[in-house]
């Protein structure tokens, strides 16, 4: 596994033995089930998961920003059915030892999927709690072998206008692209999600494989990834290209740095209906203990 946090505890300390032993068998089984497209049972839980109540399947899969399928929140659920996600391959290249096309099946066979219940905070000041299934991005990058000079990871979404009608319009310079610093990408909180609630991730949520970086605004968590490039230069990021004044490269959740057009001090948790209470937004979306160290000494109002 990728470099976990240093702690005196090991998995055997926090996990009853029967569960621990079960987990290994469980993993092998569930990976096979995911590959076969069968909705598996709940995956092994993680101590990175929040205890907060997750949003419902309906909320998570019917309220999406995925401009490849239109700019309305319900557009992706309506139109993403047109997307073919099998076969699927991811081109991993740049500063890696083993560049090449990796098929989705080969990746899944090599990865350990677990459940991560994360807070998800959109830059538009709404939020959800989502029970993702996925594997740590670090494991995938290590599989390709990161070379020593690499400093950043660049990601690209599929371009296929005949199945993604939004790409016929050019309000976003396609392909949608995103990037992380290598230490952000290797952080154990950073995952590639392949499922939600133990089911295959639906197209509108970024099938078959999308990034999830829970301490950053949602748009950093790029969907339906076909290309990953290790590089020594800061990669381009779509929203930063569209409107650099409003969207920085880092885009860490930060209640003290407002979006130029609205406050980021608080958020509405989707699912509470008409009277949902607004809640204060937390620094790094509540993951400050885990990730604040990555940005030590940086001026976060400049590097927003």
């Amino acid at each position: 596994m990728a470099h976990r946090f240093k702690s005196d505890l090991t998995w055997s300390d926090v996990t009853p033995e029967n569960v621990f032993l079960n987990r290994r068998a469980f993993m092998a089984g569930s990976a096979a089930m995911v590959a076969g497209g069968i909705a598996g049972p709940a995956f092994a839980a993680s101590n990175y998961s929040t205890k907060e109540e997750p949003n419902t399947w309906d909320e998570i899969t019917n309220y999406n920003n995925f401009y490849e399928f239109g700019t309305g929140k319900s557009d992706p659920a309506e139109y993403a059915g047109a997307l073919t996600t099998s076969p699927w391959k991811v081109e991993i290249g740049g500063m890696v030892d083993k560049p090449g096309d990796y098929s989705f099946e080969d990746i899944m066979a090599a990865m350990t999927v677990e459940e991560r219940i994360y807070r998800f905070r959109c830059v538009e000041a709404w939020s959800m709690v989502i029970p993702w299934n996925g594997f740590e991005l670090a494991d995938l990058l290590n599989m390709a072998g990161v070379q020593s000079g690499a400093k950043y990871v660049a990601f690209e979404t599929l371009v296929r206008p005949e199945e993604m009608w939004g790409q016929k319009r050019n309000f976003v310079p396609w392909p949608y692209r995103e990037g992380l610093r290598l230490d952000e990408a290797m952080h154990p909180l950073t995952i590639m999600a392949t499922g939600i609630y133990g089911k295959d991730i639906p197209n509108q949520n970024g099938a078959p494989m999308r990034l999830v970086v829970p301490w950053k605004y949602g748009f950093k968590s790029i969907k339906s990834i076909v290309k990953i490039t290790l590089t020594d230069k800061q990669p381009e990021a779509s929203w930063n290209m569209i409107q650099p004044r409003e969207y920085g490269f880092y885009s860490n959740v930060n209640p003290e740095v407002d979006h130029p057009r609205w406050s980021q001090a608080s958020e509405r948790r989707v699912g509470g209906g008409l009277l949902a209470k607004r809640i204060p937004t937390q620094m790094f979306n509540g993951y400050a203990d885990e990730v604040a160290g990555l940005y030590e000494g940086m001026d976060l109002t400049k590097n927003f």
Partner: protein, 217 residues
């Protein structure tokens, strides 16, 4: 006179009998539905069901904003239709204008109430610091004197010349409203741009007419 009726005259004949109160009633219905549904929600009664989607607050905000701009365009359209096609719809202009104000005000109220939940610090920073909010607010402020003077007593008191002059505020107000709509989107949204385009065309007609009138004077 025994000439055949022109299409405009036919339309005038059909529309003339429509009472003004019907425009008020039908026009205000969506707004009243939202007000009643929201008040009931606080009593624990769910009038809307799932009809407003996953995020009903945003749906309502957007819906009210769109109604405001649609009624505003309709209001401005009345005099353009009169000048271009001799359609006599002027009796509907006051109801349409007042409905514009009703929806613009409700749009702001729902935002402050359901979305920002009376967090005054955030409300004021939003209005004062964010250009798209400031522009929207300015548009609404310009509508206040128009709404207050949209009655016969005010016309009498001000006199027709001053009243007409005052109501030219509608032109900057609708332009600001259209700009607000375009600016609140994250990308250049076609629908918002179409509204802004329509507003500019209508304003073009009005300005052209005023130039002609003042040239003659």
């Amino acid at each position: 006179m025994s000439h055949a009726l022109t299409p405009s005259e036919r339309i005038n004949a059909v529309l003339r009998p429509i009472p003004k109160w019907l425009i008020y009633l039908v026009g205000a219905a969506p707004g009243l539905y939202i007000i009643v549904g929201t008040v009931l929600a606080f009593q624990g009664v769910d009038l809307f069901g799932g009809s407003l989607g996953i995020d009903p607050v945003k749906t309502i905000e957007r819906w009210l904003g769109e109604l405001a701009i649609q009624f505003f365009v309709a209001t401005l359209l009345i005099s353009v239709l009169r000048d271009q096609f001799r359609l006599k719809l002027i009796k509907f202009r006051r109801p349409l204008g007042l409905l514009t104000f009703f929806y613009a005000f409700l749009h702001l109220a729902i935002w402050a109430w359901l979305d920002l939940q009376w967090r005054w610090a955030e409300i004021w920073t939003d209005i004062l610091k964010r250009p798209f909010m400031t522009i929207g607010m300015l548009s609404l402020l310009l509508l206040i004197p128009l709404a207050v003077t949209s009655n016969n007593a005010a016309i009498k008191k001000l006199g027709p010349v001053a009243w007409q002059k005052l109501h030219k505020l509608a032109y900057p107000a609708i332009l600001l409203g259209g700009v607000h709509y375009v600016m609140m989107q994250r990308v250049w949204e076609t629908e918002a741009l179409i509204y802004l385009g329509a507003i500019c065309v209508l304003l073009g007609f009005r300005v052209k007419k005023h130039l002609k009138v003042s040239a003659r004077a």
